[in-house]
Every structure is written in structure tokens, then in C-alpha cells.
């Protein structure tokens, strides 16, 4: 695995008026890996993700994606939203193709790309359904297919599985591991679930709140090449979960 970084965050500060949301935050995201941003609520995980996406300006500091300083959303990044953010009036295929539609890709071309990713996320046959006809898990698959179809190198995921039920969530986590393995993309994954972060990540950035900073970076090693089924029984997995909880518990009311 190459050691270069797809995304670098350098000394980022973010203030909302008087409130300091991020203070002097620096973090590297190695290419082709999944890094999760983990921390208690209010620690600025989503703020950081939106700054990387170019949806929010940083008060100072910079974010570099593939050598370019981020000023606005770009074709190198795609976003998966916590609340799916699907267009309720558009069919699944139009929703999936919407990122491409905004980039001005011709209809036939974008729909054939979208159809491929709809198949990849397991929604074949639902192309002409509407979001309200789908379950929460299926809606997020639409959101994921939309992000994949623009073929961005960096995938930004904002608590993507928090609005789906527990069983669907486990399936999603396994699928995500396969996705990281098979697609040569860099994933930045925001979550507040310790188990989820340890399960899916190559690197975990532990953020602590008020003001937000990176307190620790953890890189699990032993279970990374194991089968998805045995990860949760791995002793390193359990140790890391334990260790993270010990550092977080004082921050949880």
C-alpha cells in the first residue's frame, strides 16, 4: 500500500461566532484506506467532514486533496449523507444519476453508469421506484450508488449507517469492507459508534471535543486481513474498542 495521502488537513480552525468548533486540527488520510473520525457528539466530526467536502469554509488552515487546496466541492470528492438527501420526486435511477446530471453528463450515458451502480449496491429491479417506496437501508444504498457513480477518488461518509436498523447496518459494514478492498478509493467515515469504527477502519482518528482536536490515531493491524466474520472475535479488535471507550467515557454526559 502506498504511503501517500489522498487528503491532508493542515492546522484547520473553525469558529462559529464565539464558539470554537475546531482548533488547530491536522490530520492525514492515506490513499486507498478508510479513516474514521470518531468522537462524542459535538466534537466537530461532521464539521470537519463538511470542510473537507468544501461545503463549509474553514476559518483558517487548509485542506489539500490530491495536491489541490480545497475551496469548494469538486469532482474528486463525493458525499454520502446521514439522512440520505434523496430527491423525493425522482426515481431511483434519476437520484443515482443526479451527481452526473449536475456535471452535465448526457442522459443515456449517465443512466447506463447509474444502472451499473444500482446493480452493484443490490438494487437491481428498483430503478423506477421512488424513494418513499424503499426502506431506510435501501435509501442509503441509493445514496451510496449516487456517490460511487461520480467516480470520485475520495468518498466522504457522514454517519451513513446511523439512520438504518441494526441488522442492515451490520450488512452495510461488511459491504463497506469489501468496497474498500475492491475500489481504489479513499474513504473518510464519520461515526459515533466505537465498534463500527474499529470494525471498518484502517485508521481511526479519535476526536475530543471543546474545542475539537485529534487526541489519538489508532491503526488496527492484526485483524485487517481476516475474514469479516472473525473480526468481532479478534482480541485486538476487543482491546481497541475497550481502549477507545476508556478515553471517551469522561466526555460523555
Amino acid at each position: 500500500m502506498s504511503k501517500d495521502n489522498a487528503v491532508t488537513v493542515k492546522n484547520v480552525f473553525k469558529n462559529y461566532g464565539e464558539t470554537e468548533a475546531l482548533r488547530d486540527l491536522s490530520l492525514d488520510f492515506p490513499r486507498g484506506e478508510l479513516t474514521s473520525l470518531l468522537g462524542p457528539s459535538g466534537c466537530g466530526k461532521t464539521t470537519l467532514l463538511k470542510i473537507i467536502a468544501g461545503l463549509l469554509p474553514a476559518t483558517s488552515g487548509e485542506v489539500i486533496v490530491n495536491g489541490q487546496i480545497v475551496k469548494e466541492p469538486g469532482p474528486d470528492r463525493a458525499f454520502v449523507f446521514q439522512d440520505f438527501a434523496l430527491l423525493p420526486w425522482a426515481s431511483v435511477i434519476r437520484n443515482v444519476a443526479f451527481g452526473l446530471e449536475l456535471r452535465g453528463v448526457a442522459k443515456s450515458e449517465r443512466e447506463s453508469i447509474a444502472a451499473k451502480y444500482i446493480g452493484d449496491v443490490g438494487l437491481k429491479g428498483f430503478e423506477n421506484s421512488f424513494p418513499h417506496e424503499l426502506s431506510g437501508g435501501m435509501r442509503q444504498r441509493v445514496g451510496l450508488a449516487r456517490a460511487l457513480s461520480v467516480d470520485a477518488q475520495v468518498l466522504l461518509m457522514d454517519e451513513p449507517f446511523s439512520a438504518v436498523d441494526e441488522q442492515t447496518r451490520r450488512k452495510f459494514q461488511e459491504d463497506l469492507l469489501n468496497l474498500v478492498k475492491n475500489e481504489n478509493k479513499t474513504f473518510i467515515f464519520v461515526t459515533h459508534s466505537i465498534e463500527e469504527a474499529v470494525y471498518v477502519s484502517d485508521q481511526i482518528a479519535l476526536l475530543l471535543p471543546r474545542p475539537s482536536r485529534v487526541s489519538e490515531i489508532i491503526r488496527p493491524t492484526s485483524f485487517k486481513n481476516k475474514d469479516v466474520d472473525s473480526i468481532r472475535r479478534d482480541s485486538e479488535y476487543l482491546d481497541i474498542v475497550d481502549r477507545i471507550w476508556k478515553s471517551l467515557r469522561t466526555y460523555v454526559e
Binding site: L55, F79, A85, L87, A90, L102, R103, R139, A163
Partner: protein, 253 residues
């Protein structure tokens, strides 16, 4: 179910017309003819072409006024919805306009614009525009932020956000405003003919009243209601056609 709703609609019409007939026959007042007499007068007026000639006059300020109110009203509403500054500048005008006693303002309009078509169009616009503007601006303001942010994250330009997110998301409420505006416009058109110069249907009403031909007067009033209902139905059909699938509600809310 379909049959039942039709049956109930017919029942409701029968009850009202029946009550009208009974009320008219029981001799409440000389000025309140029964339904059957009014319908006979309606038939006579239609056969001899009086009704058509009248509507050729009445529809002029009505159609011009509604087209102006629709185009200008929706555009202003969108602008107000998008810009807070413009909202503060312009919204109060329409709120005042909506609350203003129009009949009292008509002499002022006559002084400024005479007794011709211009004044009548003004009356229609004053009636129709506020509700269209206020509905449109409220709908635009309430567009869910998550899908606007999604469009930006996928590099949507401001125009894309307006055309592909804000407009489709607000169209059900814009259409509701348009329907209310059209009914208000009908009231305005008749008011103008009664208060400014008696032409068209307003002329039939005031003339029949002056010669105590009450059946004709009620026939004219009935025709207005009929036309308004017809017009609103057409608008609803248009709405269903234009924004098919847009009444699906919002996913994730």
C-alpha cells in the same frame, strides 16, 4: 371508491340546488328566485349569446391579470424566498396588499388609471398577486436544506439548485398559491366590473338588478362560479401533469 366520491359530489350539488329551489319557492324574498327560474334565465342568456359576449369582456382583465400575477408573482416569490434582503424590502408590500380593503382603494385606482382595462387588470392583480407571492416565497424558504446541500456537494451551480431542487420541491405549494390566486382573481374581475365600469358579466348583474330581473342576475353569478370551478379543475389537471410524482412527501423527515 371512485363511484362513491362522484356520488357524494352529485349528492352535495343536489342538496344545495334543492335547498335553493325550496328557498326560492317558499317566497323568502321577491329578489330570491328559485333555482329552476335562474337556470331558465341562464339558458336564455346562453342561447341568445349575451353570456358569451359578456365573458369576452370579463375574461380580458381576468386573463391578463392572472397571467401577470402568475408570472410576476412566482418570480417575485422565488426572489423573496432566496434573498433575505429582498424579503424585508418587498414582503411587507404584499402583506399590506393582502389585508387592504380593496373596494376602498378602487376610487384611487380610477383616478390614477381611468376607467379602462388598466384599472380592472390592477384590481385582479391586487387580489391575485399577494397570495401567489407569499405562498411561493414560503415554499422556496422551506426547501429542505439537506437536498440543497447535496446538490452543492455534487458541484451543482446556483442555477441548478434553483431549477432542479428548489423549484420542484416548492411546486406543490406554488400551485396551491396559484389556485388561491386564480379564485381571488375571479372575485377581483367581477368586483372591478361592479365598481369601475359595468361591462361583461358585471354588467349583466348590475343591469338585471336595476330592472329587477333577478333570475338573470343569479344566472350571471352562477355562471361565474361555474367558470371558476372549471378553471380551477383545469389548473389541477395541469398541476398533476407537470409535477407528477412530486406529492410523495419527503424521505427522511
Amino acid at each position: 371508491m371512485k363511484h362513491r366520491s362522484l356520488f357524494l359530489k352529485i349528492m352535495s350539488a343536489l342538496i344545495i340546488f334543492g335547498a335553493w329551489e325550496i328557498g326560492g319557492r317558499s317566497g323568502i324574498s321577491f329578489a330570491f328566485p328559485p333555482f329552476s327560474e335562474s337556470m331558465t334565465a341562464f339558458w336564455t342568456l346562453t342561447i341568445d349569446g349575451t353570456m358569451f359576449k359578456a365573458y369576452a369582456e370579463t375574461l380580458k382583465p381576468l386573463v391578463v391579470g392572472i397571467v401577470i400575477s402568475g408570472i410576476l408573482g412566482i418570480s417575485l416569490g422565488i426572489w423573496i424566498g432566496l434573498s433575505d434582503k429582498f424579503d424585508w424590502l418587498v414582503s411587507p408590500i404584499f402583506i399590506v396588499m393582502q389585508a387592504a380593503p380593496l373596494a376602498a382603494l378602487i376610487p384611487l385606482l380610477i383616478m390614477a388609471y381611468g376607467i379602462g382595462l388598466t384599472s380592472k387588470v390592477f384590481v385582479v392583480c391586487i387580489m391575485a398577486m399577494p397570495v401567489i407571492v407569499l405562498n411561493t416565497s414560503a415554499a422556496v424558504k422551506n426547501t429542505p436544506t439537506n437536498i440543497k446541500e447535496m446538490a452543492k456537494a455534487f458541484q451543482g451551480k446556483d442555477l441548478d439548485v434553483i431549477l432542479k431542487i428548489i423549484l420542484p420541491a416548492s411546486s406543490p405549494i406554488i400551485f396551491a398559491g396559484l389556485r388561491l390566486g386564480v379564485s381571488a382573481g375571479f372575485i377581483g374581475a367581477i368586483l372591478a366590473e361592479l365598481k369601475i365600469t359595468p361591462t361583461g358579466v358585471g354588467d349583466i348583474i348590475s343591469y338585471s338588478r336595476s330592472i329587477a330581473d333577478y333570475p338573470s342576475m343569479y344566472a350571471a353569478i352562477f355562471s361565474i362560479i361555474l367558470l371558476a370551478v372549471l378553471f380551477l379543475n383545469i389548473l389541477e389537471k395541469m398541476e398533476n401533469f407537470l409535477i407528477k410524482g412530486n406529492n410523495q412527501g419527503y424521505v427522511s423527515e
